[in-house]
């Protein structure tokens, strides 16, 4: 192993949503920051939407699933013991290159589920603590949306107006209105107008495949250019094998394989881990030492435990009218939070939301994303014509609750291309989630039929739906039951910080990235204001 790099103040591991936000904020504060990223830079002009064979690319090299992509920068994931397949993207920008950029916030109640509903645990911070960081992140990433949503607290004006609903969204909105149910246009990190030198969206459709116009706020086009202007060094195709510590248990840096496969070491005064809710526990569990025999920061035994996804049920409605439902952003139309909060009359605790989704072109229509594919044979063309441009999908996004048996562990056999143990996922959907999803399916059917759907089909649990990886290094006040404190600082090592979805105490029923990024910005401010010892 070679120590041929200058020591740095802060070493950030992972260049995705949270690593980018933290690095940018720390560099603003004058810290020297190096970021190690196992993936590479992608050029937006090379994204699938610029290629005629984009539909094939979406199902192969641009799949959400690393086990399908099998790129050199991906690590394998053993999900054979999981109800849900974890999804991620390894690159500068991380999964924000792949995401739909749907960006709702947690509710104030999401931070107090133990106090309010007697389940899980309260967060060691409140909505109000995060609110300024949500606002800052909205500015940095570029938020389209509109004020006045009665389901959420008032908040600052979004930088851009909402994306249009389109004929399909309008139809669904009117149906929600007739049922007396809440809906609101989605907050999106997609430009509805040009913003900070990035173009407005042009409605091409599959925004889950990277955005060639840079209209979508992925961190490779938002935080990273500014962070690098401030002096942050992003070192790509560098895979960290372990975080290193000294005899006292303090973190000293990280060992990694560089792009040529050589082992290197980067020294740092502090390490910020931003590898997502699967990658982070994997790395901590693999970073053992005499002082941390069961893994770094794992004296509580909570590293890898309490894995949460958002279990999704997908309910598809098919309409007679041609609405060109392949036009427009995939999942950024509207959200319904009518059933978000606990209602004692229901047989489950906590709640769920609906996120409306569109379809994405002829191949996806034929394959049937959330319902069985179009039948082959003599009836094929009739069934395809019935669906194409006429299907609307309501995703039921259920709040998952933390359970110890749902976990990320190290696989004893499976390893990545550098010999590092792969993550093993053990996850079973809870009975509470199942009841919640079933309730959501029943109500989705009502609203789709109210909107005029002649056929409604439900997928009760989307297996390839593990976009949101949370809970595996959770924050809390008690070192016996949590891994990090409210600032993301490890209880066991005061110069180790975690800033990704691992730190979530509970999952809420919304897409997590704005909350992940707000937490990362808050951690960075903590380091800036209270840890001057970490700056040379």
């Amino acid at each position: 192993m070679t120590e041929n790099q200058e020591p740095t103040d802060i070493l950030v591991i992972g260049a995705g949503a949270s690593g980018a936000a933290a690095a940018w904020r720390l560099a603003q504060g004058g810290f020297r920051v190096v970021c190690l990223e196992q993936g590479r830079w992608h050029r937006p002009e090379d994204y699938p939407a610029t290629k005629p064979d984009w539909q094939l690319r979406a199902r192969d090299e641009w799949s959400f699933d690393p086990n399908v992509r099998q790129k050199p920068e991906d690590y394998p994931v053993n999900d054979s013991a999981s109800d849900i397949t974890p999804l991620m993207f390894n690159a500068v920008g991380g999964s924000t290159i792949h995401w739909t950029a749907h960006t709702p916030r947690f509710h104030p109640s999401d931070f107090r589920v133990r106090s309010l509903d007697g389940v899980a645990a309260d967060w060691p911070l409140a909505y109000e603590d995060l609110e300024p960081y949500y606002d800052l992140n909205d500015e940095s990433m570029g938020c389209s949306g509109i004020a006045g949503d009665p389901a959420n607290p008032e908040r600052k004006k979004r930088p851009m107006p909402p994306l249009p609903l389109g004929p399909d969204g309008t139809r669904m909105a009117q149906a929600f209105d007739r049922l007396g149910w809440h809906w609101w246009p989605s907050d999106s990190y997609i430009n509805s107008t040009s913003y900070r030198g990035r173009a407005a969206c042009n409605n091409c459709g599959p925004n889950g495949l990277g955005c060639a116009r840079k209209a979508k706020g992925s961190t490779d086009v938002t935080y990273w250019p500014e962070a690098m202007e401030l002096g942050v060094e992003v070192r790509t195709r560098c895979r960290v094998s372990e975080i290193t510590t000294d005899e006292s248990g303090s973190v000293t840096g990280a060992a990694y394989f560089d792009r040529d496969g050589n082992q290197q070491h980067q020294s740092a005064r502090a390490v910020v881990v931003a590898c997502n809710g699967v990658g982070t526990p994997r790395m901590l569990l693999h970073s053992t030492s005499d002082r941390h025999p069961s893994g770094l920061a794992n004296s509580s035994g909570m590293v890898g435990k309490n894995l949460m996804f958002h279990p999704y049920a997908m309910v598809t409605g098919i309409f007679h009218e041609q609405m060109h439902t392949y036009r427009g952003a995939l999942g950024n139309i509207l959200m319904c939070q009518e059933f978000y909060e606990t209602n004692p009359k229901r047989d489950f605790v906590r709640g769920y939301a609906y996120q409306m989704n569109r379809s994405t072109g002829p191949v996806a229509t034929a394959m049937g994303f959330a319902m069985p594919g179009v039948i082959w044979g003599q009836q094929h063309h009739d069934e395809f014509a019935e669906r194409f441009g006429k299907s609307v999908l309501l995703a039921v996004i259920a709040e998952d609750l933390p359970e110890l048996h749902n976990e990320v562990a190290l696989d004893k056999k499976l390893r990545d291309s550098h010999g590092i143990p792969a993550p093993l996922i053990r996850y079973k959907t809870s009975s509470n989630s199942r009841k919640m999803l079933d309730h959501g399916i029943r109500n989705a059917r009502k609203v789709l039929e109210e909107a005029g759907a002649h056929t409604v089909a439900a997928n009760p649990l989307l297996r390839p739906g593990g976009w949101h990886l949370m809970g595996t290094a959770r924050m809390g006040e008690d070192p016996a039951t949590s891994v990090v404190d409210e600032w993301g600082q490890a209880h066991d090592a005061d110069n180790l910080f975690v800033v990704d979805g691992s730190v979530f105490v509970t999952a809420a029923a919304v897409n997590p990235t704005p909350t992940i990024q707000a937490l990362a910005l808050r951690t960075a401010d903590y380091i800036r204001e209270r840890r001057p010892d970490l700056k040379a």
């Binding site: 939407a49 610029t50 290629k51 005629p52 539909q55 094939l56 199902r59 192969d60 399908v68 509710h107 104030p108 109640s109 931070f111 107090r112 106090s115 309010l116 409140a126 109000e128 509109i146 006045g148 949503d149 009665p150 389901a151 959420n152 607290p153 107006p161 909402p162 994306l163 249009p164 609903l165 309008t170 909105a173 009117q174 809440h182 809906w183 246009p185 407005a200 969206c201 042009n202 409605n203 091409c204 459709g205 060639a212 116009r213 909060e341 072109g361 002829p362 191949v363 229509t365 034929a366 394959m367 594919g373 179009v374 082959w376 044979g377 094929h380 063309h381 395809f384 014509a385 441009g389």
Partner: protein, 166 residues
């Protein structure tokens, strides 16, 4: 039957064409997927992507091994209904293989410009043209805007009781 190194023989290619014609039959002025000469594209993709290659080889293998088909001169010589029955047999016996074989056929068919013209899809890359982005019409918010805030209030201290503004 494919050779040991996984390459398709000419006989395999003819079976593939026949199978594709049954999976996606002729419509309007378009012949079936096989007769549209899409089998070479399926083979090209399969050579590049291992999971499709495996599915293609196994599916063709299974169709070739169908003894009833052999008795009458192979899959290609069967009447259409019996070809469908043979395909259904593979679908039943090897569901995962068949699903990926079908995915491959759907990909090549629905990536073809002639099919796009028929179904009214603009062929080629999605960018840079995209589609028009109309401004958001706020009038549709009228109903929801009338509703009182109903998000659940949270106590700011432990002495307060939570309330839901519903």
């Amino acid at each position: 039957m494919p050779t040991k190194d996984g390459k398709l023989t000419e006989a395999d290619r003819k079976v593939l064409v026949a199978a594709m014609d049954r999976l996606i039959p002729a419509v309007d002025d378009l012949p079936g997927a096989g007769s549209m000469d899409l089998a070479p594209e399926a083979e090209r993709i399969a050579r590049r992507i291992p999971r499709f290659h495996l599915a293609l080889i196994k599916a063709l293998d299974a169709l070739s091994l169908d003894m009833s088909a052999h008795a009458y001169g192979g899959f290609r010589a069967l009447p259409g209904e019996e070809q469908d029955a043979a395909l259904k047999g593979v679908e039943h016996a090897l569901p995962s293989v068949f699903a990926q074989f079908l995915e491959l056929v759907y990909i090549v068919y629905y990536s073809d410009e002639r099919v796009h013209n028929r179904i009214g899809w603009r062929s080629g890359p999605l960018q840079p043209a995209g589609f028009e982005l109309e401004p958001f019409d706020e009038s549709i918010l009228e109903t929801t805007r009338k509703r009182e805030p109903f998000w659940r209030r949270v106590p700011t201290s432990t002495n307060e009781h939570p309330q839901q503004t519903r």
